[in-house]
Amino acid sequence: MTEQTQETREGTDVSLSASQGSTEKSSYIKFLIWGIVVAMIVAVFLPAPFFANNLSFLFYMMLWLTMATSFNFVAGMAGYMPFGYVAFYGVGAYATGVLYKTFGLPIPVALAGAAVAGIVIGLLVAPTLRLKGVYFGIVSLALAMAMKLVISLMPSEITGGSLGLILSAANDPVAAYYAMFIVLMGALAAGTWLTMSRLGTALRAIRDDSEAAEVVGVNVVATRLKAWIMATMFPALVGGVEAWYTNAIDLDSSFNLLVTAKSIVYAMAGGLGFLVGPIIGASALYGIDQLIWRHFPTLNLLILGVVIIALMLLLPRGIVGAFAQRFSRFRRFIP
């Protein structure tokens, strides 16, 4: 009789048949798809400086791919939604600028400093990780504002005051481009590791039900902290490289809320929790943003807003999430 119930389950369950006879196949296919995606990214961005005369488009595309991917580390994999994500970006930009301009260190060292700064700030604010949901988000937003104020209170000999820092001596867009490429690769590698490793398993368990995870032996606080640190390091690096690329650092653009907003929107548009989600989301929306900006220069924010609303209402789980829901038998193949 027990057998019979099992049989009957099979009938109702659409996704069941797909799993038959595919012991380890699913994770293999998953790897394969992810490998192809990464290979495509490399193929597009690696040789570009030799062909494209419009580097900025690709540079900022990589920037958003990185931001969205690392945002996914906290939002998709650990279930946090830091509205103040821009804080790390801004701190990274300033760390780079100050180390380079004020302390005269070479750019690579300054960038390493930015990563460290991001991590240090991440550790400092780690106590807020015990807040939940929107509370966490808003407090992190307040932290970003506070961070901006702290920098503005620092002596202007160090931070350049309200004008900010101009790094024109470091101007080398192609080098900055490849630096961003390396950061992107790092983020993708970190994402791969977070998804495929045991840490990733623990994170997803926490996201699904943190208390249950704790009860089966997952040290929730320590695990979250690891993901958090990774998620704070990349925006700091991105901020630093961007500062290098534009050679201009100032408070307003370094701590512009649109940076967080776009990271969230791009990541969510693709689908949080999937590795490819932020990639697809960022490429698609960044592309749309560019088109809008080119063709409707005065309407761009309006249209961007409409696109976001439409996306959330029609595809609340993002592009990949919607696919996974609609074709649930394939979702185990989606990296």
């Binding site: 309200s162 101009i166 100032d250 653009s253 900006w293 220069p297």
Partner: protein, 382 residues
């Protein structure tokens, strides 16, 4: 005939939207005027001018991208800068790298001109460190002793405040309060009271319009009076529109019926106003000093192009240097140093007086009315 393409960005939104949009109207007037006259005379041939406008949303990242796009994909010949020092700095790194000439109309930060940029010229905007001089000179002459300087923590206002502090001390006044406040501050009543408590008789806030409007209104709400209040943007139509509370505030401008320079390039005041009326009949505001700065920058750009051997950045810069001290446009006399920094273009002081409207009160050479000093207290007005 191939057009001369000039690229620039406008801020459709963000902090700089208002000023940026005021400015672009000036550039458009110039383009219209040039094209109506058959174009610019470049090495003997008349070429029309095309303005390629893009949006930067007041966003520095965007500026870098757009300027690159303008140069790489739109193939512009030279560029007008975006509004403000921050955006201009971002644009300059691109134009320098891609070796294009850029005419600046509204970037006043002193630091911008000490970065070693070779191909930039501030056609009409004097550096921020010198900007408060006329106002504080007037204050000192009228008997001001103690100055309270407050500024929003933004590059331009902060630069003005620093400049003001130095200039006030030069004129023997004591700076009793110098304080900044962050953007987004909504309530200024305590700040005003602090200034009053410090015993200031000269109130010198440097901020953008919105904050200044709030300050004036709250000065009245809190019954705060200063014998001399100087507000950078109090001369704009938008500020004057707020009504009676705007009376008596000192400000400065380079564009006013009573300021008439001997213009030797481009339109004079009447011509400019007529052109503005014709081109922008629907815009609710009259041209302000940003419009005039940008217009003047356009005119000077035109002169530079016509006098240059080619449209290469180096040639244009050479021509710009050669024209230094030889031109006077609507905004005033033009003179630059080799960093591209503007040396002239002074700003006379104006005051909004009951019955007379905005009148020039300082320096004496261009003054048409006596300054009303001290400013009557709120309870002494009717």
């Amino acid at each position: 005939q191939e057009k001369i393409k000039i690229g620039m960005t406008i801020s459709s939104s963000g902090n700089f939207a208002l000023a940026s949009q005021s400015g672009v109207r000036g550039v458009e007037i110039w383009v219209d005027e040039v094209n109506a006259n058959g174009g610019l005379d470049v090495n003997g041939e008349k070429r029309l001018v095309e303005l390629v406008k893009r949006d930067d949303r007041s966003d520095k990242q965007m500026v870098a991208r757009v300027y690159e796009d303008l140069i790489a994909n739109e193939d512009v010949d030279l560029l007008m800068a975006p509004f403000g020092s921050t955006l201009t700095a971002a644009a300059a790194t691109v134009t320098e790298r891609l070796d294009k000439f850029m005419v600046i109309w509204s970037a006043a930060s002193d630091a911008l001109y000490s970065q070693g940029f070779k191909n930039i010229v501030s056609a009409t905007q004097m550096p921020v460190s010198r900007m408060p001089s006329a106002g504080l000179e007037a204050a000192a002459a009228l008997g001001g002793k103690k100055v309270a300087i407050v500024n929003v923590d933004e590059p331009f206002p902060a630069g003005l405040a620093d400049g003001a502090e130095a200039i006030a001390e030069q004129h023997g006044m004591e700076v009793v309060l110098k304080e900044d406040y962050p953007k987004g501050t909504k309530d200024f009543s305590l700040l005003l009271q602090k200034a009053r408590a410090a015993g200031a008789d000269v109130f010198f806030p440097t901020s953008y319009e919105g904050d200044l409007i709030s300050m004036v209104r709250q000065m009245r709400q809190m019954n705060v009076n200063f014998p001399f209040s100087f507000m950078v943007y109090a001369s704009t139509p938008q500020f004057i529109e707020i009504g009676d509370d705007a009376q008596y505030i000192y400000s400065h401008t380079n564009f006013h019926p009573t300021i008439n320079w001997e213009v030797d390039a481009g339109l004079d005041r009447e011509g400019f106003l007529a052109a503005y009326e014709k081109l922008f009949p629907d815009v609710s505001y009259e041209p302000d000093f940003q419009t005039v700065l940008a217009y003047g920058a356009g005119v000077i750009a035109g002169e530079i192009i016509e006098n240059a051997e080619s449209l290469d950045a180096a040639d244009l810069k050479k021509a710009a240097m050669e024209l230094s001290d030889k031109l006077t446009v609507l905004a005033g006399p033009y003179a630059i140093d080799e960093t591209g920094k503007q040396l002239k273009m002074p700003f006379p002081v104006v005051q909004l007086q009951p019955g007379k409207g905005l009148v020039t009160v300082w320096p004496k050479e261009v003054a048409v009315a006596e300054p009303i000093y001290p400013i009557p207290g709120w309870d002494q007005r009717d």
